[in-house]
Symmetry: C2
Subunit: 293 residues, 2 copies
């Protein structure tokens, strides 16, 4: 981290940030449990009349932030779709995250990073440290190297009032070959239990260590004995809308843990662009569906 | 992908590239089984008299490429240490990968990326498609979402003569909570078997689908019944030198699969910088140790 950037940020900071879980819980109480995915896929760029280049990427991203910032609890830029455009694409991601921060909406950088030791600490520096140009309110992490390998990110997130969402149980069929392995002590269950342990340090509020659990996993929570209610952290659930899950499905799938679910919709909302009014209507309709569902 | 970049690259390409596995096997036969990790950790930058900023990052990276390109079979930049400097750091990574290509040494972008569907395809675009500014000869991938979730990268790598290294079995103690789960059908064994299946499309030569297996895993291969010899792809083994494994350890750990092992050394070699002569001596000594070990 360049020292000058850290110093500049320290001057700008007005005081300690509240923990991410508290901030997200407040946003969900205020605006409802909807996260809008910012997924600038080539096909969507084309549908919006934009080129598949960094100018199109920036126009798309800033339009979504402008449209939904006051309506959704969070926005979730898909990092792969920026990385695809190289360092110039990552610069657009930096401006997108800054725009979200300026607009007052929480950000989830969907990066699915994971490594060990000082390398994991470097990923934590990138996504969770004040002064980093890529810092978001939270980041998604992948635990193939073990939940505990994510320790540098868990600790840095806590230090800065940021959060993480750890991949636990996904709805893609091939995910079972890793996540369901182990019977009553499945990999996914171990991840959920480790997140529950971790959230003990956030007493009296929603924890800052969330999980990613697919909205279309069906009965897998019951089959594997996962107690998401015990996690006490937010559950990021991709798969609402265009990807197949209805609000009623979410309530049925998550049961008692539903109040902690932050449902993510991407294409179902993004297809309503590029007009800001269309994006806002789609966001409101999706959110209302979740509140009523 | 910006179309202009794709066109420019198409003009430059002189013909179809040989498969990555063939190219790596040739390099290992020629130069020995050593990969030099390019790990610009803050502490190493300081030891080299460089600042922890993008100028220091670039100086460090290009010095390592210059020093070792004719001595090592491959170089492996650690992506997290570039991402830590934001988009400007990723631009340094682009220049580092270009320098490696210009110098004729194979590159392994140690990114540990993983996702599903069109998002995984976007990561494949970033690291494996001709015309991408981040394209490397190969990239490391993380399979928490299932080996088959990596399909877009497996197929794109094949199309462009590039390769992948999939995380299988690592030596960090917390890795066991995922990789060892499942008894005789452990997660790590499933990954190795899937890689073996995949390499069937590379007949008569080393396959382009490699695995990451820690150099200091001890008896885990035997304990879990992993047959790395059946994988027929390169085994990237971090942990040589400063991280604890000797050449003799590598031969004992990998047994019959040793000829496919590409041993990675980072700090043990990098600590000999910043002088190019020192880096070259350390690289030669490490390589000779592997050949004699």
């Amino acid at each position: 981290m360049p020292e000058s950037a850290v110093v500049a940020q320290a001057v700008v900071r007005s005081g300690p940030r509240q923990p991410f879980g508290s901030r997200l819980a407040a946003a969900m109480a205020d605006l409802g449990p909807l996260c809008v995915g910012i997924d600038p896929h080539p096909g969507l760029l084309s549908d919006w009349g934009l080129n598949d280049d960094v100018a199109g990427l920036e126009r798309f991203s800033l339009t979504v932030v402008e449209a939904v910032a006051t309506l959704a609890a969070a926005v979730k830029p898909q990092v792969a779709l920026y990385e695809r455009h190289g360092s110039a694409g990552m610069a657009v991601l930096e401006r997108t995250l800054a725009a979200a921060s300026d607009a007052g909406v929480l950000s989830i950088a969907d990066a699915k990073r994971g490594d060990i030791g000082s390398t994991m600490a470097a990923y934590a520096d990138a996504w969770l440290r004040d002064g980093s140009s890529l810092a978001a309110d939270s980041v998604t992490l992948s635990p193939y190297l073990g939940f505990e390998s994510l320790r540098p990110a868990l600790d840095l997130a806590d230090e800065y009032g940021r959060g993480v969402f750890v991949l636990a149980l996904t709805s893609n069929p091939e995910g079972k070959s890793v996540q369901h392995v182990g019977g009553s002590e499945s990999v996914a269950r171990r991840i959920a239990e480790a997140a529950a342990d971790e959230n003990r340090r956030y007493a009296g509020t929603m924890g800052s260590v969330g999980l990613v659990v697919g909205a279309t996993i069906g009965t897998a929570l019951v089959d594997l004995g996962l107690d998401l209610n015990a996690v006490r952290g937010p559950i990021l659930a991709p798969g609402l809308g265009a990807q197949g899950a209805t609000p009623a499905d979410l309530r049925a799938t998550f049961g008692e843990a539903y109040p902690a679910v932050l449902a993510t919709s991407s294409r179902g909302i993004l297809a309503a662009g590029p007009a800001v009014a269309g994006l806002r209507s789609a966001t409101e309709a999706t959110r209302d569906g979740l509140l009523e569902g």
